[in-house]
Symmetry: C2
Amino acid sequence: MKDFNYYAPTQVVFGADAEEQIPQLIKSFGGTKVLIHYGGKSAERSGLLQEIEQRLKDAAIPYVKLGGVVPNPRLSKAQEGIDLCRKEGVDFILAVGGGSVIDSSKCMALGVPYSGDVWDFYAGKAQASACLPLAAVLTIPAAGSEMSGGSVITKDEGELKWSYDDNLCRCKFAIMNPKRTYTLPAYQTACGVTDIMMHTMERYFSHEEMGVTDALAIALLKAVRQYGPMVLDNPEDYYLRSQIMWAGSLAHNDLTGCGTIGDWATHNMEHELSALYGVAHGAGLASLWCHWANYVMDAKVARFARFAREVMDVDAIDDEVAAREGVNRMRAFYHSIGMPASIPALIGRKATEEELLLMAEKCSRGKTITNGNFKQLAYEDVLSIYRAANE
Amino acid sequence: MKDFNYYAPTQVVFGADAEEQIPQLIKSFGGTKVLIHYGGKSAERSGLLQEIEQRLKDAAIPYVKLGGVVPNPRLSKAQEGIDLCRKEGVDFILAVGGGSVIDSSKCMALGVPYSGDVWDFYAGKAQASACLPLAAVLTIPAAGSEMSGGSVITKDEGELKWSYDDNLCRCKFAIMNPKRTYTLPAYQTACGVTDIMMHTMERYFSHEEMGVTDALAIALLKAVRQYGPMVLDNPEDYYLRSQIMWAGSLAHNDLTGCGTIGDWATHNMEHELSALYGVAHGAGLASLWCHWANYVMDAKVARFARFAREVMDVDAIDDEVAAREGVNRMRAFYHSIGMPASIPALIGRKATEEELLLMAEKCSRGKTITNGNFKQLAYEDVLSIYRAANE
């Protein structure tokens, strides 16, 4: 096991009336002028946005609004928000939405006090020394950004989708009301389930073992494997929605990676898929993972065997047999929740050779890519995995 | 499941060189004059105290010291520290030790900015509005105070052992170096293992179910059940000591209670034992738990059956049979790690009738006692459990 730092200071308010506490929490973290940041129509249609506005009005907290965040959020939108925050004297950002909105908010919160180009952080050219306080009203359990320090932003020119991780960016608080997720479409719910499991799987698949962490990671994975399909059958079940929502935060607040290293190759390879095809992140992960797993498994087959036995209920005695069967069951799981397990299933056609080469090139050479702590992946390896996923 | 707030902001630095970061962390949390608070000789003998002093000197951070904290820490010592902090202008408290030292530090940190008697908080007469920043250098994994908001203090007059819980008191950071626990005697290690498991068991035994939380609680319990006996056989094994140390924090930072209510009757009944006999808290818990369990089990036998099957590897199909067998195996586990499973085994003789009546009286009437969310316990019930434990 490795030394670790664990820091997850976000104050979570979880429950059916959690929104009531928003004004008081903003004040307690020093907010006096708020930017409400959100995506598209759903926050308006559901009434959530109006409700939050009313609560801020009632508490005499002035605010401005900026909507229009898209999935795979754009640097250009964050830059628009940075300008708006500066012009309006905003000192607190409230993200209302899922990972894209929260990530866009983090980018803005980093950019407002920074004199340079906020992309510097994502390009690895600078380390932040300040960040506006921000918080999340979570409506999509998936990305785990509400408790993480990370954000992923796409630069419009060149479709560069890069990430930045900093404890400064952790949300001050997160409002989690499972009822807000009742209306999530099945596909988006399944994408969330996939992303949640992947955040813990990419921490678990490590050469480093850490008994307590591994036990918690496996417990979390088993729980999401159990509750994921159930919530698809019962989208308005408060208990089931709660499990997925809370699992989503715990899967990515670093709890399940304390002492391990993690391998983020699948995430990194997926970022190229969603940058190129605009696909949902969770679906992109599902399309790649089994192919990554089969390619890297021999680096430590016992780790895959344990995953197979303890998460996927495989009972084979031989490690390699168990490991392979675990991947097969994961593929079956993806199918069962309506997720694609290959690139053709994801985009409706085979990727062209040119596209595969482009993605492998970007994924292998990009500044922020860390492919393969579990197994080192060079350009040819990445390309091989894309090719296997393209069958 | 219940609504919940989860707030565990303590920055954990875990590793064999974790102490190196102490000066920089103190500064980052605004400390300019430190009180080093500790217990007895062991912090001096091990060299830890001198090492920390040297680090503060090297970083030009002035400090004063106050040792002499005893197990079941005393209000009088905390009051001595409050006076010292005020006189010396201390603005940061560094606890070097285990739960007793950290709890004493919390009491001091609450008392310094408070104009009244700090016992007001423990007596339920006041709610804190300020608290000096504090941090812990953990040397005894057990109480979980390094990540919790709680503290337990004994008022010298009347042997009142009462608790106060407040997010304000959570440590800013916690330094966890498993090597510092190598020299813990076997008995104290076993007391820690018992306390760690109990913190999660008292959250788990709830009428409220919460899938993800229950899964994590069970995973943590299984891990400690596994690693506890191993660490007793291998006291200088870094990996094993790490498991117990990290489990101790996670067992009591509220993670394993999100959405459940918890039942702290065993803890409350034990506080009377340690107040009266001066016994180690963990050993006191072991002496009571099986008797509490048998007494309350019928309130929700399925919960005990799940514990028996998933933590204690019982395979009985009938819930009641499984539940009873789970308690029997817990008793055997206590024996296996050298913990007493009855009051006579704890104190070397039977408690007198007078002592039982006194403890039941204090436990049932005390202001801060919350006996029995799992099963309501009145005076007679508490007395019955003490009597059963006295056989």
